[in-house]
């Protein structure tokens, strides 16, 4: 089966400008079916702008966006009927009660599971009679997540789901994500700048910076390919050593520490030829990988 047919989301050459500011520049991204996909980037990187294209709130100025092979602008029913979405601002009708919100939302989705919805409501500790405007920020996020999950969507899109929430609520949200993964064939795309959480749950990630995808890979590939290597040379080096795939290098004299974006024989050859010794070779956290990639 080819990759395209396995993809839930296909983005090709997506470009978006707001006035003179180019927010997305030639984005190519493919999100495979199943698993958790983390979209990470700093504030203002364009994550929400990208997500808005996925749910049809923005039309590509250049390029294309396909969800389940369909254009979300042309076919909102076909796309959004299979998508559960939680926005960053937790936009919910303030005047509704939680019970009314569930009733209203359930009418749009034939696959709405009342039993599952009640199970979620109880686990999120939400009062059916409480008005949305009286809910705290964390409760509001849980209410939004409830209506996004209860119809068992094929694709769950979460925009900064943990932002501004306490660790207890964050654990609940992550727990909900993991339960969603447990349902066969479902996909989760979530954007976040809280990298420790992404690192814990994501199977694949993409780093968005400067309007471009800097890197997109599985978490495993990313961890394996990014290493921090410290070398000790016999003689003091006046210039930083050159290694292919090196993202950054610092040090002086005999000891130099470099961060490598790919590990290959070039390092071993360089070490052997220069008589250097590898005194440290460790994997990086996602936080370190991200900072190295965006601060280049």
């Amino acid at each position: 089966m080819d990759r395209a047919s396995e993809s839930v989301i296909e983005i090709q050459s997506l470009t978006r400008r707001f006035g003179a500011k180019e927010v997305l520049n030639g984005i190519d991204l493919s999100v495979p079916k199943g698993g958790v996909f983390g979209l990470i980037g700093g504030n203002g990187a364009g994550k929400t702008t990208l997500i808005k294209h996925l749910i049809g709130m923005l039309k590509p100025q250049h390029g294309s966006v396909r969800i389940f092979g369909k254009d979300p602008v042309d076919d909102p029913v076909g796309v959004l009927g299979r998508v559960g979405y939680l926005s960053e601002d937790r936009d919910l009708p303030n005047w509704m009660r939680v019970g009314e919100l569930m009733s209203y939302t359930s009418a749009f989705y034939p696959r709405w599971d009342n039993h599952y919805a009640e199970e979620l409501r109880n686990s999120f500790d939400l009062d059916r009679n409480a008005k949305v405007k009286t809910l705290s920020r964390g409760q509001r996020a849980r209410a939004g997540l409830l209506v996004a999950l209860a119809h068992r969507p094929d694709l769950l899109i979460l925009d900064e789901p943990s932002s501004g929430l306490d660790p207890v609520v964050r654990r609940d949200i992550l727990g909900a994500i993991i339960r969603t993964i447990a349902d066969e064939g479902r996909t989760v795309l979530f954007s976040s700048h809280l990298l420790d959480e992404v690192e814990r749950v994501a199977d694949r990630i993409a780093i968005l910076h400067g309007g471009r995808i800097q890197l997109a890979a599985s978490m495993e590939e990313m961890k394996e390919s990014h290493r921090r290597v410290t070398l000790r040379f016999d003689k003091a080096q006046t210039q930083p050593p050159v290694v292919s795939g090196m993202l950054s290098c610092e040090g002086e004299g005999q000891e130099w520490t470099m961060i490598l974006g790919q590990t290959d024989n070039n390092l071993a050859q360089m070490v052997a030829a220069s008589g250097a010794t590898v005194i440290e070779n460790e994997s990086l956290s996602l936080d370190e990988i991200f900072l190295t990639r965006v601060l280049r």
Binding site: I55, G56, M57, L58, K59, V73, P76, V77, V79, L80, G81, V83, Y85, S87, D89, D91, L92, P93, W95, R97, G99, E100, M102, S103, Y104, S106, A107, F108, Y109, R128, N129
Partner: protein, 526 residues
């Protein structure tokens, strides 16, 4: 402290100078346009007692037009609560700004009107009185904004000050008989006392707000609210998304127009019972209510078209944008809910007015109002059509999520027309202003027809409209146009510009059916 006050004043003026200027021009434009029309038709008789009524009505309208943007610009004072300013300083700075701006604008408006139209309307007394009323309203809001008492308290205070203002021009009941040309020491004392009381109330209210408190009647308020709440546990069940969304629109916005009509009946009757008790005047008030329906329908249309997550933001929110519904379906349900709301409000009006009319017939009392000769019983369905046109215009303004743009266009056109009319009146033969008005009426009519046509063609091109709907709309337009022009007002046929303007306004009755899905698609996907 003074530098903080200067900073607050700078913030207010820097952000709001354009809003203040436009609201002032809009208020002046409204009054001058009516007066200039009367003057051009030689209907402006300075000694006529009706001029006093006109003066007071214009003052009420302009006080609202001037005060509304001021309250909007002052915003929620909660944003100052973390600044090292006392609650008294915050309250006083806001109320003094309101007083000075409202009074100043009324003085300027009156001086301009007097100069341009050649009147001699009083300035100081009305300016101070209405500015005091604005401050009273503001202070009452500070005191009651976290409670159910806001509407009754502000309503009672405004009514009391409004009735006192009315008595400056004549008796409490009946029409005004003289201008308020001189302010007596007693009247100064009353206004100063009202102003001082408002300042005290406002400062106290601000202090309560800062602590997150309100007037302590929570138990009573909870009991009142329980009458309007759904039965706990009794949540609606919907057959499909369309019925769910209709419920969504109705529950949020559908009650406004019928509620306003009922409130209007009770309110008018209550005031009539206090100040008048002449049943023919109540009948006239209910009759005029048919015209007022259009005003409230316009406001209702603005609300129905607002898909924003907040009242002030018309850009569609994420929750509604992510509903699995097409723009055609979603907007169609909004239009249906708006129609249903209007129909219910209109039926309430018909029932109330009809019952009173029947009562007068039974009692053998001749009503004071007679239907305009050429309109006769057409007045009744015409109120529904005018109200629908007004609702449709309001809906189209907000549904595209770009209400500010439309508002600026409309206001700009209106100011252009007024400046042209006034300038031509002074600079050349006054009949030139009639040609100018005729040109503007023609341009407006042609624009409205052209815009409606474009809406239908564009909606059809984007497949937001079927050919059957297009043909139905065309048939409805032709039927309505022929009925109005030939059946109700054949005089329009003799006046080309008025005919074209009329046809343009009639086009607005079918515009929403194409404009709504187009506007929503423009709003939902940018």
């Amino acid at each position: 402290m003074f530098s903080a006050m200067r900073a607050l004043a700078w913030e207010f003026l820097k952000y709001g100078w354009l809003h203040l200027l436009l609201s002032f021009l809009g208020g002046v434009a409204l009054v001058l346009s009516i007066l200039m029309i009367l003057k051009n038709q030689n209907a402006l008789v300075l000694d006529d007692p009706g001029m006093i009524m006109l003066h007071t009505i214009f003052l009420y309208i302009n006080a609202m037009v001037f005060a509304s943007p001021i309250f909007f610009l002052l915003g929620n004072p909660a944003r100052f609560f973390t600044i090292p300013l006392t609650s008294r300083a915050i309250a006083l700075s806001q109320m003094i700004a309101t007083f000075l701006l409202v009074a100043g604008q009324i003085v300027l408006y009156t001086l301009l009107t007097n100069r341009i139209v050649g009147l001699d309307w009083p300035t100081l007394g009305p300016a101070v009185c209405l500015a005091t009323t604005a401050v009273t309203f503001q202070a009452a809001v500070y005191l009651t904004q976290r409670s159910l008492w806001m509407v009754p308290v502000t309503g009672i205070l405004l009514l009391a000050e409004g009735l006192w203002f009315k008595t400056r021009y004549g008796d409490l009941s009946g029409s005004p008989t003289h201008f308020w040309n001189t302010v007596t020491p007693g009247e100064w004392a009353v206004m100063i006392a009202a102003l001082a009381g408002s300042f005290v109330m406002g400062c106290y209210g601000m202090a309560l707000n800062r602590c997150g408190e309100s007037i302590n009647t929570r138990t009573f308020e909870a009991w009142v609210l329980s009458w309007f709440e759904s039965t706990p546990g009794g949540f609606p069940v919907f057959a499909n998304g369309a019925s769910a969304h209709f419920w969504f629109e109705w529950k949020q916005k559908g009650w406004l127009l019928p509620g306003v009509v009922l409130l209007g009946f009770f309110g008018f009757t209550f005031v009539w019972a206090i100040v008048d008790r002449d049943i023919t005047n109540l009948h006239y008030a209910f009759f005029v209510g048919g015209y007022m329906l259009a005003l409230w329908a316009f406001i209702s249309g603005l609300l129905f078209g607002n898909y924003g997550s907040q009242d002030a933001r018309h850009e569609i929110g994420h929750f509604l944008a992510s509903r699995p519904m097409t723009n055609r379906n979603m907007s169609g349900i909004t239009v249906q809910a708006a129609l249903a709301s209007l129909a219910l409000g209109w039926l309430f009006w018909i029932a109330g007015f009809g019952a009173l009319h029947l009562l007068l017939n039974v009692l053998g009392i001749a009503p004071s109002v007679k239907f305009v000769e050429e309109v006769r019983w057409w007045y009744v369905p015409a109120t529904l059509v005018f109200a629908w046109i007004a609702l449709g215009i309001g809906l189209l303004i907000t549904i595209a999520g770009r209400g500010v743009l439309y508002f600026q266009l409309g206001l700009g056109s209106y100011i252009f027309w007024l400046i042209g009319t006034v300038a031509l009146n002074f600079l050349s033969d006054p009949s030139w202003s009639r040609y100018f008005n005729a040109g503007c009426a023609t341009a407006a009519g042609v624009s409205l027809i052209g815009w409606t046509l474009w809406l239908y063609l564009e909606a059809r091109r984007r497949q937001l409209l079927g050919s059957q709907e297009l043909l139905l709309a065309l048939a409805a337009y032709i039927l309505l146009a022929v009925t109005v022009v030939l059946g109700i007002s054949p005089r329009m046929l003799t006046d080309g510009p008025i005919l074209i303007l009329g046809l343009g306004l009639i086009a607005m009755s079918v515009a929403p059916f194409a404009g709504a899905p187009l506007g929503l698609s423009w709003n939902r996907t940018r």
